[in-house]
């Protein structure tokens, strides 16, 4: 350490990297995340990028950003407003400056502010000169120039082109910020060397730039401060960072190992679900068979065919693709075979906002099929939780011989957090319990003779002698499964299918209420709003408000104790990134006058807005200590 430097200890920091789509901001953020995890901080991330592969360079439409919150205590969200903003060009400044905390740190790459940049960003005069940045602690640096100069040798020796040198500026920035927040860069060095193993010169350039940035921080006298964020006191265990899509893929593989069935994953690429396919395709050694189908209908159809054959069958998509799968999911309901259907939700309707997050498919997955076709619905609440949610979806599908909808969203899919590796031995037992022998009198096989406790039907695999049978989408006679147009049978079968799904509630553990039934308000959520809701509730409590919260993993059927819990509160708030879908279900089922907080902005909630909403409600009801106002 140089002598000029003082080191300040912070509890939590929110940092955002922003630049052009081509500037490598996602990669920078990813690496900073890994380095931060290594230091032992708790963290949460929020990548945000345009729907175009590379939207017009230099424009605000082309800005890509990555936000990360890290802390020495456990945290739940990627943070509302950044404390530190790194911008690579004028457009990135324009688009992000409004979010930066007053007094926050702004690191500007001045090389991204020439006239063309300013014009593309829509600036008439340079914001660097007009005083508009006064509220911030601004560091203006020629990052591109500093980077190229640090790589001059490599360029001169023709190891790399000068274009390549300029491209490494994100690594320079990463080095600098790593120094600033005292994060070691060794793993990034190793990672770069592996990633560019086939282009050693490029690897070298990036490593060089990274170290140059780090050293620049250390040697320059520009920065008065260096910060430290101490490790968080996380529960003991082995940790890694993980994104939701990866956790989901791992969860599926774990479930497949656990139940002893090969995983069949039928899918058609779509943002933000494609990465699950990419991840699984790399793990064929676990017996995973990935099938990139011609469309979503074929993907789910193939999965259902594989399920008939005895595979652990999974399909995934985002909203538009789930709509296409609707008819086949209905068939799966009718034939009662295990199937997991993953919906990584994104902004809608229609193509909507493909790279943004939203929770507006709940009613679609509940009701988006013809006829009475009930399907269990499970939702994940954080990136790491996607692992558990996947296993739970598989458990229900296998136990009840039913398609299960598993909901995640764009934020969970791409966001990441530290994740404590699960104790594999403690994962639930999953048993396919295939039918092996005739279940009828006189040795016949009755494919719709149900298990009296679960109402599940037998799953008999082709290849098993004596259990030959036919299934299909026409109504089936109870027990025998033969085609039946009998009116009473149809009513009975409709009731049985419903009762089977309703019965899943029996397995569910009691709901964990965070708070007391005597609190003044209950906040009910589901899915990725978990972090912001918990965070907001913490803050409200810190302000003296009495608020409880409840986060639902199971959206169909609802847990058996939900009704009583809801009815023990006078006021219920349901924040959702949709226009009130869970709220509709709760009101219809329990006749409780739940209120909504509904925003569809393609962004996760900020804890601050939820905090404000809750405090407002409590105040209206005269339930907020005045001191905090």
């Amino acid at each position: 350490m140089t002598t000029t430097e003082t080191s300040e200890t912070l509890h939590r920091v929110v940092i955002r990297f922003a630049g052009d789509s081509g500037d490598g901001m996602q990669l920078t953020g990813d690496r900073f995340t890994v380095q931060t995890a290594e230091v032992g901080n708790d963290l949460a991330t929020l990548p945000d990028f345009p729907a175009e592969i590379r939207a017009p360079a230099g424009t605000t439409a082309g800005v890509s950003s990555f936000q990360l919150q890290f802390s020495d205590e456990d945290i739940l969200t990627p943070g509302d407003a950044p404390d530190v903003l790194v911008v690579m060009n004028a457009a990135a400044l324009k688009k992000n400056i409004g979010d930066l905390q007053r007094g926050g740190t702004l690191i500007v790459n001045t090389d991204g502010f020439d006239r063309a940049n300013l014009k593309k960003a829509g600036y008439l005069s340079s914001p660097l000169d007009d005083g508009s940045l006064e509220p911030y602690r601004v560091y203006e640096l020629s990052l591109t120039d500093l980077t190229t100069r640090s790589l001059q040798d490599l360029v001169e020796s023709r190891s790399i082109r000068s274009k390549d040198a300029a491209r490494a500026k994100n690594m320079f920035a990463l080095g600098l910020v790593s120094w600033m927040f005292s994060r070691p860069v060794d793993t990034t060095v190793a990672w770069l060397e592996q990633k560019f193993a086939r282009a050693p010169a490029i690897a070298q350039a990036n490593v060089h730039a990274l170290k140059a940035g780090y050293n620049f921080g250390e040697t320059t006298e520009l920065f008065a401060h260096r910060y430290e964020v101490k490790p968080a006191k996380l529960p003991p265990g082995r940790y890694r960072t993980i994104s939701g899509n990866t956790a989901l893929a791992y969860g599926l593989i774990a479930a497949s190992q656990r139940c002893g069935l090969d995983l069949f994953y039928g899918s058609y690429p779509i943002t933000p679900a494609s990465d699950i396919l990419h991840e699984l395709a790399r793990h064929k050694r676990f017996g995973v068979r990935t099938f990139q189908a011609e469309d979503e209908i074929a993907a789910v159809g193939a999965a259902l065919g594989a399920s008939f054959g005895g595979a652990l069958a999974v399909t995934a998509s985002s909203g538009p693709g789930i709509a296409l799968k609707a008819e086949t999911i209905g068939l799966a309901v009718a034939v009662e075979l295990p199937l997991v259907v993953i919906d990584v939700q994104r902004g809608g309707p229609s193509t909507g906002l493909p790279t943004k997050t939203e929770q507006a498919d709940l009613l679609q997955v509940m009701f988006g099929r013809n006829g009475e076709a009930p399907v269990p619905v499970v939702a994940a609440q954080s990136p790491g939780d996607c692992f558990d949610a996947a296993i739970e979806a598989v458990r229900i599908a296998l136990t009840y011989r039913t398609p299960v909808m598993l909901l995640t969203d764009g934020y969970l899919a791409n966001g990441s957090e530290p994740w404590r590796l699960p104790d594999l031995a403690a994962l639930p037992d999953l048993d396919p319990a295939f039918a092996t022998a005739p279940n009828g009198e006189d040795g016949t096989f009755l494919p719709f003779l149900r298990d009296p406790s679960t109402l599940a039907r037998p799953w008999a695999l082709p290849g098993t002698p004596g259990l030959e049978h036919r299934i299909g989408g026409l109504e089936k006679a109870d027990v025998t499964g033969n085609i039946s147009y009998d009116p009473d049978n149809h009513h009975r079968m409709t009731e049985l299918r419903q009762a089977k799904i309703d019965g899943i509630a029996r397995d569910l553990p009691p709901l964990g209420l965070d708070g007391a039934p005597t609190d003044d308000l209950l906040v009910v959520g589901w899915g990725s709003t978990y972090g912001p809701i918990r965070e907001a509730v913490r803050r409200v409590r810190a302000d003296g408000g009495k608020v409880a919260c409840l986060h639902l993993r199971h959206l169909n059927p609802f847990p058996a104790d939900l009704g009583d819990l809801l009815r023990s509160f006078d006021r219920i708030l349901v924040p959702e990134m949709n226009m009130g879908q869970l709220r509709l279900l709760l009101r219809a089922r329990y006749l409780v006058d739940a209120e909504g907080y509904n925003k569809v902005r393609g962004q996760p909630f900020r804890a601050a807005e939820l905090h404000a909403k809750i405090v407002g409600l409590l105040r209206n009801a005269d339930r907020m200590p005045v001191a905090t106002s």
């Binding site: 065919g305 069958a313 030959e468």
Partner: protein, 337 residues
Amino acid sequence: MTEGRTLTRKDFTSDQEVRWCPGCGDYAILAAIQGLLPELGAVPERTVFVSGIGCAARFPYYMDTYGFHGIHGRAPAIATGLAVSRPDLDVWVVTGDGDALSIGGNHLIHALRRNVGVKILLFNNEIYGLTKGQYSPTSREGQITKSSPMGAIDHPFNPVSLALGAEATFVARTLDNDRDHLQTVLRAAYEHRGSAFVEILQNCIVFNDDAFLSVRDRATGASNRIELRHGEAIVFGAEDDRRAVVTKDGGGVEILPLDEAGGRVVVHDAHVDDPTRAFALSRLTDRDGGPAPFGIFRQVQRPRYEALLVDQVERAGEQGRASLQALLETSNVWDVP
């Protein structure tokens, strides 16, 4: 495969009442297949019939095998998933001209290009039977049906041409009322390693009777059937009216009286890799009430999709036993004490 069991057609016949119209061509196909399977050495428990929706698609219910009556058009997709996850099974798809070529056209052509080991039997009656008589993608221009009271204006598909354009490795045509021919073609389809596409002309007595009169008529049909036999010159017709298929200037083939054919008679080669000649033959049709080719147009080898996939799984597995723990730890990990 029969493991000492002697199976008969009864072993493939389910107890369900057959619900087709009296006189429907589907009956003959059902009987032919129930009779053929034991001969092929197929066993009921390892046989699966998958179908979509339509009259034809009721087929699985009548077979005492495993069966999956799917939804309209999606049988090739369902069958693909089944075949990929269970390459040990014999997977058949039974479909209609609407099911396979209208709503299910995309799944069909993709199954064919992938060469999934599924046998696809298209019962072509040139009509939507189950929904009571609308025109289908194989109905003829001008055909009057419930939905085309002034005549159909859609130019139809030629199923064989379409399959060839979709890179199919096995393509054949046969018909409901020639049991021997049907069984011969289906035997070859069964033995083909990869996807097999078989168009079966099938008479719908209720909504499109006698659509295939020129080639199906008990008395005169045989003389209009151009039999394709691998390695043989393509000659057909009644004793007193022998005709030959000959190459045509500018590509393609045509029909000439045998005595005018000269040296141009085509010798059928189903195994040649280039599908052009098979395509040329497919352009001869009975649309104008004339002769049409029957038999195997094309039969070439290409790796099966599921075999390639299993191979990747196996090769991946050779890298050593898969450990879940190791997988979770692929990324940098740290320990919190």
